[in-house]
Amino acid sequence: MPVQPKLLPPDQAFRLSARALDPTTIEARFDVADGYYLYRDRIHFTVGSSGDLPAELPAGVRKHDEFFGDVETYRGPVVIRVALPSAAPGRTLTLHADSQGCADAGVCYPPNPQTLDVDVPVAGGKPGAFVEAGQKKRWFK
C-alpha cells in the first residue's frame, strides 16, 4: 500500500474556542495545527438564526489561487472578535462557526461546522473563560 498522509480530523486541525468579552462581543480563537491552514473568507459565525455576524477577521497571509485569485490564509492561532446581534447579558449563547481549510500534505476539508456554548457576562462583568468547541456535524443532517 502506498503511504497516505497521516492527517488530523478537522476539529483537531482547526481547534476552536471562544469566550464572551462583554454582553455584545464574543472572542473566538482558532488554533490551527502545524501544517494546516484556514481560508480567511470561509470563516463565518452565527448565533441561533442570525445571519453571518460581523467579525473582525485579522489580515491573513496572501496566497495566489489560480481559480479564486488572491486569497488570505491563517496559520497558528488567530483571534477573531464577533459582534452579537443584540446584548445578551447573563445568557448562554450557542455560537456556530463554519470554517474551511487544508493540510500542506495536500488535502482539503469540506466546510467544517463547529458549535460551542458561551456564557455571556452581565454588563460590567468579567469576561468569561474560553470554552472549546464540540464536534457536531451539522451538515450531515
Binding site: Q4, P5, P10, G106, C108, Y109, P110
Partner: protein
Amino acid sequence: MTSPADRLSPDALPKGERTAVSRRTFVVASACVAVAAVAAGAALFRQRNSRARDGDAVLATVLPDLDGRETPLAQWRGKVLIVNFWATWCAPCREEMPQFVAVQSRDGAKGVQFVGIAVDQVDKVRDYVKEVPINYPVLIGGFGAIELSKALGNELAALPFTIVLDKHGGVAHTQLGQLKSAQLDHLLASLLA
C-alpha cells in the same frame, strides 16, 4: 481437511523433546497457530468482501451531470473505473486533475474511464469547467457525496479522494490526497495487463 495441528504432530519432534511440558507447549502453540490462521482468513475474507461491496457501492451510484441528467456509474462496469472526489474549493484537487485528463485521452481506448464527483455546487463546477475543460464525466455530488466517500474508506472526509475499480468491479486502490502520476501509471499497468 488437514488442520495445522495434524500436520505438526508431536511425533515430528525429536524423541527427547516429547515430554509433558513440550506437549503442553505444543498444544498451546498449535492452538495459537489455528486461531491466528482463522483470524487471518477472516480478515482476508472481510477485506475481499469489503472490496467487492465497496465496488458495488461505487457502481450503484447515480448522480446528476452538469446538465442535471441522472448518470449511473454502472454504465462503466467492465472498465478500469477511476472515481475522483474533488471540489473547486480544493486546490490540491484542481492540481491533480490535468494528469487525469491526460491519462483519460491516453488510455481511454484501453478501457480506462475517469469520473469526477464534485463535492460542490453545480454553478461553481460549471464555471470551473469553462476555464479548465475536463474530458471525462463530472457529476455533482454536493456535500452528500462526502458521505459516500466516507463509506468507501475516506474516514476524514477530506479531498481529493480517489477510488480505483478493476474491470471486475472490485476496489483495486483508494487514495486520500493526490494520486501521483507514477503511482497511477503503475496501477494502470497492472490493471490493464
